[in-house]
Symmetry: C2
Subunit: 280 residues, 2 copies
């Protein structure tokens, strides 16, 4: 795969890493970074994540063969639809949003015929943000979910998959709905839990918050704006995942109250098995 002009909208951790990865692998002749603040664009330029920067979204996307939208999920669909009319004939668009149903539905409902879109979600990143944490190998062996629907042109999802593979990622295809249901439990619920746990730590116990507490709450350091947006877009699935968790907590409560130590042991042993299978 060889892209003449790659435009990255939003040059934070993910956008910056895409730029670095594409340049390291000589995937794009030219990488344009788009943002709303010159400050982070200049940082991305200094890091070598982009070749040029532009504050004008539509202008930068109009020059691209492939544009990747790496902005907060609440902005993506609006930005795609605002810039699509200026796109080249046959331009390909994708995004890196953590939620897919709302974005894909909105975009596919309003895209001009001569422009193609397939949604994607790289399961990479961390609680860190900003182009200064960008990493050319962020996607290496990481999973990217590409989410075609019956409205997605097959060539578009195939090319988007090829793009992520060229950055070192593994690709799986899922419907936006199946993706959102699954990540509600594997990503959004863990974030909610980490935030709930951090939120109840009494001031006087901070001294006793050792490595276990730090691991369990690491996700809570994520950006509240970004995460409030994710919860807003995936609210129903997150609430369902919370239901499942609360039933599991009720089970733990019941066996602790009943001093059913064999069952406590069995619950812990099952969880250990699942966790061990995931690897470090």
């Amino acid at each position: 795969m060889r892209i003449k002009t790659l435009t990255i909208v939003g040059v934070g951790l993910i956008g910056g890493s895409i730029g670095l990865a594409a340049k390291k692998r000589r995937l794009a002749e030219r990488v344009i970074g788009v943002g709303r603040q010159q400050c982070s664009l200049s940082q991305a330029l200094r890091e070598g994540a982009v070749d040029e920067t532009d504050l004008d979204l539509a202008a930068a996307v109009s020059r691209a063969d492939l544009s990747v939208f790496c902005t907060p999920v609440s902005l993506i669909a609006g930005q795609v639809l605002a810039s699509a009319p200026d796109c080249k004939e046959g331009a390909l668009l994708t995004d890196a949003g953590s939620t897919k149903s709302e974005i894909v539905r909105a975009v596919e409902g309003g895209l001009p015929d001569r422009v193609f879109f397939a949604g994607s979600h790289p399961l990479a990143g961390s609680e860190k943000k900003g182009p200064q944490h960008a990493d050319a190998d962020l996607f290496l062996d990481r999973l990217v979910v590409v989410t075609p629907t019956e409205h997605t042109r097959p060539a578009a999802s195939a090319q988007v998959a090829e793009f992520w593979r060229a950055l070192g990622a593994r690709v799986e295809f899922m419907t936006p709905e199946a993706h959102d249901r699954a990540v509600a439990l594997t990503s959004h619920l863990p974030h909610l839990l980490a935030s709930a746990l951090a939120g109840i730590l009494p001031q006087e116990s901070r001294l006793l918050a050792a490595s276990g507490f730090r691991d369990a709450t690491r996700l809570a350091a994520g950006d509240p704006d970004i995460w409030a947006g994710i919860f807003a877009q995936n609210r129903a699935h997150v609430l369902s995942a919370l239901d499942v968790l609360e039933r599991q907590l009720a089970l733990f409560r019941s066996v602790l109250l009943g001093q059913e130590w064999q069952r406590v042991h069995d619950l812990l042993a099952h969880a250990k098995k699942v966790r061990d299978d995931l690897g470090s």
Copy 2:
């Protein structure tokens, strides 16, 4: 501080690390490791964590000036009381158990007059176990809580504190009750949550369990035997901590249901502040 004979009962991660740390810092002339299985004792000997091994608990403790019990919490009090009658006049005993009230109460209720005990809990360790993961610097800058009561001889808790400081740790004094209440929230509840979360991961979503899920569930890899014992000893406080968490989850549920995004943001922002203050 200089100990003639240091006996370590239980040479797993914690016991093995105490041995390595004491030897590295030339704190003890002789370190004896006690265990029930020759296999892990031999491993500890090979790692250089102990100088001698003994399968006979009372015999090894009888030779010690200081004995540290690093066995599962359900065994500690029984082992201390079983070996105390054979101790030297003035021998000092402590433990490394993650719970303190039951252990300290049982030990202080049955100790001979000429032997001294102060409970302690090093907040170090990990989901790993066994002497092969022992680390001479495991306690460096880590917190150790020493838990004297009105029955504890002040010189005993002072010497136990000095011992841990000599291994590189910081020491805080708390009552066993205050310790158990605090760690129920900072350590035992996070473990329960990690286990609950790992336990509800559907088989088909394992592929989507990325670094966030792994961090949030890391604790679930801990030994189910050890953790069932900890939950048994600290059951009331763990249930209270679970109450607090469930109220916080109910709050998250309510603001998500009500689509109160500013309040969602505020909850996430407060949690981020707490987590950021803890450091990495």
